[in-house]
Amino acid sequence: MVFSIGIAFTNADQWNILPAQEKIGNYTNLLKCATYLRDSPEHRAKAPQLLGDIENNLNQTLNYFINIKNMLDEGVEPIDIPQTYFDGLYRSARKLSRVKLSISELFNCSALGYPTNLELIPSDKLEKIDSLITLSSILVNGRFMNKEELYDRVLVGYNITMDLANFFGKLEHDYEGYMNEVISSSQSKLEDLQMRFVGFENFQRLFKDPRFYNSLYKTMLFVLTSVTLKMGAGVLLAIFYSSELVMGRKALRALLMIPWAMPFLLSALTWKFLFSPNGQLGQLLGLEINVREWDAFLVYNLFEMWLAYPFVMTVTQGALRGVPKEVIEASYVDGAGVFTRLKEIILPLIAKPVSLAAVLTTGASLQAFLVPLTINSAGPIGEICAPYVGCTSGYKNEMLIVFGYHRVMIDKEYGYAATTYLVILAIILLYVTIYFKLLKKTG
């Protein structure tokens, strides 16, 4: 309990709830390594020299590419380009392979005593050097290629070289800055990996989350509609099946208790099958619960009604037993005055237990969870908008409890989820307080 209140003020999520020591170690070492490379005088002296070499080589290579490209642009046939160009290109690219080796030696964090599987120099840059070398060895025979092919290859080579020259140029001219960049990015990664205190950030976020308002709205609406439906159905069925006019009442009443006797999971499976868009009732009624949010909402209401009417019915039946039989019978036989009599005689007599049942079942609707979850995971997914707050995408029929559940099970943002259910808890407690107030009043 205390833990969950605590976690509501942190940024816990799936990355830091289970801190991976290995990952943290990698980032810590990279950070140390970059710091060392930045500050060690030996490396500060060596690096510019080596990087300067690379730059020279790259510039040479680039020049050859430009020359060949220019000649091709002028319409010179490949066969007429001097072989020396291609040979020069090849030689300058070959030199890069030696430099590449010294670079991986110089910037090798593991050799410096900071083992990490993260890269200080992005490995794609080193791979590009390799592909440049391969390309240049192919281009030795460039004179005998056809014009388009040669042009394409030269262009590729030119682009790679350009990119490498930019990267290493930057590294050479702003060696310290590059290392600082590495340091700050691994620092922020480390922070993401460690849970920390964020104060009221989560609460602020919750009150700016359109999904939260949507879920409040849907929940209230659901309480309104489903309570009306199930109370109406339960009370009417109880009155109807208490009537002497219906023969075989006992058997029929037992049949009506089926939704109560069926385990929830079986009912949920059945309703999912029946109301899926290609299920029997789904097709019959043309419901698209995975596309239209109100279709899904309607099915929730029907399902909730079906699940809960046996309870209401049983309570009402119990209350009706206290009503003299003659009253009910008379009200049916009289015909004209049926509803008046129902209203004036029967309803006042059963009002107390029935309203207690209503309060209880309101609690069930307020905490609707399994119904929307099992029918279609509280979908469909779509754009959710709330006035003054904005829009975002999410599950359109997320009732309150489902909202908290999805934050844990789908988003895996545990800190935020803890905040949401603290707020939901407050709402439930509010309901319980009202409920007990009412209970005391009715005695």
Binding site: F3, A12, I17, L256, A261, L266, L425
Partner: protein, 284 residues
Amino acid sequence: MPGASITILKIIATIVGVFIAAALAYPLVYIVAQALIGNPKVLIISIEDLMRYGLSLENFVYSLKNPEFHRALMNTLVVTSLTVILAIFVIIPSAYAFSRFEFMGKDTMLYYYLIVSQAGGGLGIIAVLALYIFFLRLAAYGIGLIRIEILPFIYVSGLIPFQTWLIKSYFDQLPKELDEASFIDGADWFTIIFRIVFPASKAAFVIITLLAYMSAWGEFIIANIMGLDTLGKYIYAMAVAGESGLMEPGRFAAAALLYALPMIVLFIISQKYIGEAYRLGMKG
């Protein structure tokens, strides 16, 4: 002819009554038909489907032979029996204590139990989610608590508030003079508990066993949150939350019916007890 008109009214009312009852019972008929259909991949849309593919028990046989079903069933049996035992050991003594003794914080605790048991299912889900996050955090320190054996403890904690009230009300109805008299007579605690309290509370054992069994067997969402394989979780994760259900509706309908059968039987047997129990609980 008032007699004749009443007869006609009776017939109409009965027809309407049968019709409504049939409509409300329809989902059960449907799922049984779905489980019996000859082709497991067909979702029944009309009665013709049933004619075309015929009826067979193939789907039930398939489920019973399915190793995944077996494993989940074994887990469920372990969890269920542990839950029952644990519930009896925790709830009955504490309810007895609440009923017979005065101790510090008794009223506060009873009030707390009442609030929690009346607040509804959402509270339980929230508590379980919080517990799950807590377990994840503990796992980071090498304490792996998310295992099948943890489920009975969670289930029993969920049962405690309501059932303690229930059994307390039951004990309240037993004459207090009985154990007091024997206490004065010089009987020791052992004798009192085994000779007097136990025999008198047989019904309490039955109620707890039934309720604990049914709640542990029927539970699936907690197991699903924790990712532990029970029968309920298996069916839920595959067929209700997952897509396999609509791919092979026949097989999963059969599996769900097999899963539901013991609960339906128990529900019918326990109707009498549970009705009584709820009446007692409400009174408390």
